[in-house]
């Protein structure tokens, strides 16, 4: 029997494995991941840091993987976890396509998934989620098309638009999704504009960044949206069309283009403003939500946290869940950047090691506290913030739970 089993070899899972394996307890750890390569969603990431250096996800992932292997962690890829069961108070059994795995402690680090926004025509080949284009471009290095349209504007879409441009792929436009029961605020120009301001610091254009810093008051935002140019403002040489919405994706065997129309500042289509935009691929950017099914199967209680992307398994700052010997880390606890996931992984790995020692190790207790404060620091400094209120929300959530969960040896 293993001391710990980790589901997910993304930044959170790998960093947890490193922390636990390096804790000096001699823990035997196995990490399972269904993707053929370790690294999770970190693999596709590529952006410039404020100091000008590049965050190259492939490099970061292979460094994490090498460290874990050096510490004796057993990493198995191509293994899908489909179910799990608690073995009384002894640990967990996990079902996979490669048979059963048992361990004394289980960490779920399954990350996040993309929400889809159904748009008429979205099942045509050549229509994909924006994250699909990221992986095809940066990891598989195959071109998804020559000229695309992005439907949806959020921080992930903007990051990936810059990555597609970097790979020499042309984008005809970034437009809003059509207003329907599922698109919600994502098709409301005023709401979207407000959220765009939060990641204007990522824009390559200094005018854009400077402009955004001035447009804080909400009356001014409404004024800007009302006067927003129909052809859009250019960002990475791509028109960001806040006042246009996709109506339908058109094509017979694959994408041929998108019907778009002008919309009013509150998102209604302007009659007679329709136009056809030629494109050979379409990316739908619906945002991310925590991928937490396995925690539900385990029987972990959940909490609804819109700031963190949806329903999240209840957990303490120490990444312990209310279930005995079950831990969570990374985007399963809320959508944030990979650096935060790495920091959270270190907390979970240390908590597992501390609990493995029966809670006796003073050194590990101290290390756990340090790892927890590191998460907060990394969160504050994150370049990509998926929501403005994450820090406050988490503080409050952890406070409400009181200290029992945080300090309980799990």
């Amino acid at each position: 029997m293993r001391d710990a089993l980790i589901v997910g070899a993304g930044p959170a899972g790998l960093s947890a494995a490193i922390a636990a394996a390096g804790s000096g307890n001699g823990m035997r750890i196995t990490v399972l991941d269904e993707y053929p390569r370790a690294g999770g969603r970190l693999l596709g990431q590529l952006h410039q840091e404020p100091d000008g250096s590049w965050w190259n996800g492939i490099k970061e992932a292979s460094q994490l993987m090498e460290r874990a292997l050096r510490d004796g962690v057993d990493i198995r890829t191509g293994v899908s976890v489909t179910g799990l069961e608690r073995n009384g108070d002894e640990g967990w059994t996990v079902w996979t396509n490669e048979g059963l795995f048992q361990a004394k402690r289980l960490l779920l680090a399954t990350g996040a998934a993309e929400s889809a926004i159904p748009v008429p025509g979205w099942t045509l080949p050549g229509v994909m989620s924006i994250g699909a284009a990221q992986v095809m471009t940066n990891v598989q290095r195959v071109k998804v098309g020559n000229r695309g349209v992005v439907i949806g504007m959020n921080v992930l879409a903007m990051a990936i638009v810059s990555e597609l441009r970097l790979a020499g792929i042309e984008l005809a436009a970034i437009v809003l999704p059509p207003k329907n029961a599922l698109s919600g605020h994502a098709s409301d120009p005023n709401r979207v504009f407000n959220s765009l301001l939060r990641f204007a610091h990522m824009a390559p254009n200094p005018m854009f960044r400077w402009g955004a810093s001035l447009i804080r008051p909400s009356w001014l935002q409404r004024l800007v949206v009302a006067g927003y140019p129909g052809s859009g403002l250019r960002i990475w040489d791509t028109p960001l069309q806040l006042r246009r919405s996709a109506l339908e994706i058109v094509g017979t065997d694959s994408v041929e283009g998108v019907r778009v129309a002008k919309i009013t500042p509150d998102g209604r289509v302007v009659a007679g403003s329709e136009r056809f935009v030629e494109a050979d691929f379409v990316c739908i950017a619906g945002g991310l939500y925590p991928l937490a099914e396995l925690a539900a199967v385990a029987g972990c209680p959940f909490r609804y946290a819109p700031q963190l992307g949806g329903h999240i398994p209840l957990h303490a700052e120490s990444m312990r869940t209310p279930l005995s010997r079950l831990y969570v880390a990374g985007n399963i606890t809320g959508v944030e950047s990979a650096k935060v996931a790495i920091a959270q992984g270190a907390v979970a790995g240390t908590a597992m090691a501390l609990d493995d020692s029966g809670g006796a190790s003073i050194a590990l207790s101290a290390e756990l506290e340090r790892a927890i404060s590191r998460v907060k620091q990394v969160r504050r400094e994150a370049v990509i913030q998926f929501h403005p209120d994450i820090e406050r929300f988490r503080e409050q959530m952890y406070l409400e739970q009181g200290t029992i969960l945080r300090y309980r040896i799990n």
């Binding site: 053929p36 190259n56 992986v135 290095r141 195959v142 020559n146 790979a167 065997d253 694959s254 050979d280």
Partner: protein, 117 residues
């Protein structure tokens, strides 16, 4: 139509060298690169349609590319329901796309039956 591979990337550099892998897709011989997914090999060969919707016959391709949506399911060496985005190509693999299935128990209004009402 193929859009090609990203041979030279300004930050990621040259496409890493990898041995060619030969596979068969719906009877057609194709080459992929070792380590890449079936979906990547097919796209690099200009194939986007991986199956049809079993009932409507509408074409389908990848959607999420990371194993979540099941849109990319194909048959590999006789096993059906394999995710093309999650499965690496292997030498000699036989891949087939999903087809329209018969609907023997579906009620069809007389006016829509072949041969007319």
């Amino acid at each position: 139509m193929t859009f090609g591979r990203i041979e030279l990337h300004p930050v990621l550099g040259k496409l890493p060298d990898a041995p060619l892998i030969e596979v068969v897709f719906d009877g057609q011989r194709l080459f992929g690169l070792e380590g890449e997914s079936i979906a990547a090999t097919l796209l690099a060969n200009g194939i986007r349609k991986l199956r049809v919707q079993e009932e409507s016959d509408n074409p389908r391709g990848i959607y999420c590319n990371i194993g979540h949506c099941m849109e990319c399911r194909v048959s590999v060496d006789g096993f059906s329901g394999i995710r093309a985005c999650m499965t690496p190509v292997k030498e000699g693999m036989t891949i087939s796309s999903g087809i329209k299935l018969p609907l023997p128990f579906r009620h069809t209004p007389p006016s829509e039956r072949s041969g007319g009402a």
